[in-house]
Symmetry: C2
Subunit: 490 residues, 2 copies
């Protein structure tokens, strides 16, 4: 079949298109084509999409290293916690109300809620829920939040058609590998220009994981990845609106949609990721192909996932960490604190210099509030950035005593804090890497504490405990779908 895509060949002087669009594009070898990108770029590996699909279809649970399996389990637990935590937000209420009249069979449930939806709508809503507080997991190399797109899709599938916990965890890891590796290939340029990479790369993760659970063969997986490539989601401009949490949700449902169609042999082209007019060349000015296919089954991006301990920007985490440690070590109360001096990286004041936040969300941009509330409450969760917290007289009083000092010798991941007490004592804490970083990861206990905090007021404590237990022992479950059922409201 003849293929052409040079526009100047297709169009006459008046933009007269000369060929049906079905016949254009797709020919990476066509010498007459103008380059969409500088010609100095390394060529994409032949059959890149096939190579990735082959891996996703064939990788075995038994071959996953123990640390990878463990991180997958932690990713699952953290995901369930944030999805439960976001489930009563107005954003979810709206999505549930809007989509209810169009839902298919009630195949899958929602965390923290009683409604049920068809799997694609359920995946969308759980994905939205998981991102509402911006408190989900982070693959630091790409700022992708890997859990939302992948787990929202495969938990819905697992509810509809029971799947063993081992197969589920394998699919989860493969989905995270897929989205993070593709993200690595295009980050940072792709993100810098304006794409919300969690939604654009996330579709691939959801399609790969869902396709694996559905038993796609390699060719079908290639098509699923191709249909995923056709459905990127999300622009950074939407940040600050409900549209931001829309993105991982829609990535989940788009990935499912792709896998479902591919499972019935709905075709796509074979090189949708790497071809000249494929995803990576169209959507990014950078393509580091090796990131996608090198070391498949050897190195695992999913082992690099991290989890936020505090519900605010990471720029604040060292200071909050220091404040909580000092509070807990010395059993501090607000009344004891005379002054908090701390040397911080310049960005702390640039980004979070708001002195008098009036609303909860503003508190996330106030190092004064963040340190004060951490000293008083020993935490930095969503509750510590509520309207209640930023208006608490004790915290308001204390935040006036916080004195950040910009110090260019302090790295972004550091803080050097000295708390002066009314009795004259000075307490000192220096943080090199805050809790939640790769260097000082959240412990399992930390993750449980975060989960419990998020679930409080939404699920009874015993139910929250049960969901956590199911997550920890997912590898032994006969049906991973039990996790959503356990986390829904009856």
């Amino acid at each position: 079949m003849l293929k052409m895509s040079r526009r100047s060949l297709m169009a006459g002087a008046a933009g007269f298109p000369l060929l049906p669009m079905a016949t254009t594009g797709g020919s990476a070898a066509m010498a007459a084509e103008p380059a969409a990108a500088p010609s100095s770029k390394p060529a994409a590996p032949k059959d890149l999409t096939h190579t990735l699909a082959h891996y996703v279809v064939n990788a075995r649970y038994e071959d996953l290293p123990a640390n990878v399996r463990k991180e997958g389990v932690r990713t699952l637990l953290n995901y369930a916690g944030v999805a439960i935590g976001g489930s009563r937000h107005q954003t979810v209420d709206i999505a549930v109300a809007a989509l209810g009249p169009f839902s298919g069979p009630r195949q899958a449930g929602l965390f923290g809620r009683s409604e049920r939806f068809d799997i694609m709508n359920a995946a969308f809503i759980n994905g939205v829920s998981s991102h509402i507080f911006d408190y989900d997991d982070t693959h630091l190399k790409t700022i992708i939040h890997p859990g939302g797109p992948v787990i929202s899709a495969i938990l819905a599938l697992a509810e509809m058609s029971p799947v063993s916990g081992r197969d589920f965890l394998n699919a989860l890891v493969l989905g995270v590998e897929t989205e993070c590796r593709i993200g690595n290939a295009v980050y940072p340029n792709h993100y810098d220009v304006g794409w919300h990479i969690t939604g654009t790369a996330g579709v691939f993760g959801a399609a790969a994981a869902a396709g694996r659970l559905m038993g796609l063969n390699e060719q079908q997986m290639v098509w699923a990845l191709g249909l995923a490539a056709s459905q990127p989601v999300g622009l950074r401009e939407s940040f600050g609106s409900m549209n931001k949490s829309f993105n991982p949700g829609r990535a989940a449902s788009n990935g499912l949609f792709a896998a479902i169609l591919a499972s019935k042999n709905y075709t796509s082209s074979d090189g949708m990721i790497e071809a000249k007019r494929g995803w990576a060349n169209t959507i990014s000015t950078k393509q580091d192909w090796a990131e996608i296919t090198e070391g498949l089954g050897q190195r695992y991006e999913s082992a690099l996932n991290t989890y936020k301990p505090f519900a605010c920007g990471i720029v604040l985490h060292p200071a909050i960490d220091a404040a909580i440690q000092l509070r807990n070590e010395h059993h501090l109360t607000a009344a004891q604190v005379k002054r908090v001096r701390m040397r911080v990286h310049p960005l702390v004041l640039e980004l979070t210099g708001k002195k008098t936040p009036n609303e909860g969300l503003e508190g996330k941009f106030s190092v004064y509030h963040a340190v004060a509330v951490a000293l008083v409450e020993g935490a930095g969760g969503e509750k510590q950035f509520s309207d209640r917290a930023v208006r608490d007289p004790v915290i308001v009083d204390l935040r006036g005593k916080v004195e950040p000092i910009v110090d260019a010798s302090i790295k972004p991941e550091q803080v050097d804090m000295t708390v002066e007490l009314t009795d004259g004592r000075e307490l000192h804490k220096r943080i090199e890497h805050a809790i939640g970083s790769l260097e000082v990861p959240m412990s399992d206990t930390d993750l449980e504490r975060k989960f419990i905090d998020l679930a409080e007021g939404i699920l009874p404590a015993a139910q929250a405990r049960k969901v956590m237990d199911l997550c920890w022992k997912v590898e032994g479950l006969a049906n991973a779908g039990d996790i959503v059922a356990a986390g829904a409201r009856s």
Copy 2:
């Protein structure tokens, strides 16, 4: 609320993200931001998305010029024909089989088929069906196929909640305006780099048209357009696979999804089209903002829609047109033809030089076959590019007598054909603009003939007639949704 998006400010040396993503992006005013594009670019008009939304929400049917209404009706008729024509293709069979188990209430029907789906799935499948033969409408300035995304969405809505034909036609025109104007703003760069513009701009058209029928207010329409901006569909790499017709279908369902969520006040940012990290800057290197907002309600892109008379690339249309005219004027039979000499633009042989096509699809890339079948059958429809046609001994014999001669003085839209007959006569025809161009548009009768040809074998003739009649008189219909009901199989 503090906003930051400069990556270097967000990340430390090790790519340590310092702010939650919810707080980044969206600040076009931030001086510290690196430009995603050259600073010489004209700034986007303030409130561009709002301006467009205001127009879509408030424009009245009564104010549409007669030629615009008429072209809208012709767009509708052509859409219904191609959607019926594609409805039995394997691509649609697969989509129906794959999505059936997940469909919501059977709110809307499919052209040419008996199945019913929820409106989003129905819009998807009808949109796929309308594009399968690459025989749909074309906005020549952008190569957008405007009908598929827009009409698929609003016909489904109209089936669910009856809507007058006048409101329907108004929404159709507004949807086409929206997608083609946004397409104009980014074409050709956006298309050149690899996006399938029908799917990327089409989402806006579907969201605008659906949102208008759903009665969104201006703010909700802004959000609908924002959620549409978050869901572009389609890469040119997919051309030649089922993924191509996926794109207008998914544009239709994504647009509906956006409008449905926005109708319940699911928010987006206010400047998703024009903001620094919004759609146009992220997805294209060219942004001609005036194309979107200048002359709203004054000039109409929808009046420039065209309809293919022949089911192949436009490069072949002048030759087919000439052959059909000579055949009809002189009542030619294949046996009379000794030789067909014709002077053609160089592209004709470059693109369609296949001498011995063996399959129907290959026939679309053979000027020899196209002219031969046109002389024998007096048509260039889908049937003329079937396996049957390219293997017909009479046509195979005649194609060997076709002698195209490249002539650089011939424009792409021209042909100069001389048919030598066995009796020694020479018949001559020169085409300046082929039928189907803006200069020589398809007549209403031509459109009906195309429709009847597409519907043959799928709907009984009387039923096809009824669908056409409903399309022609759509402005008098109490419920435009009757059109799909009439075009479905019972």
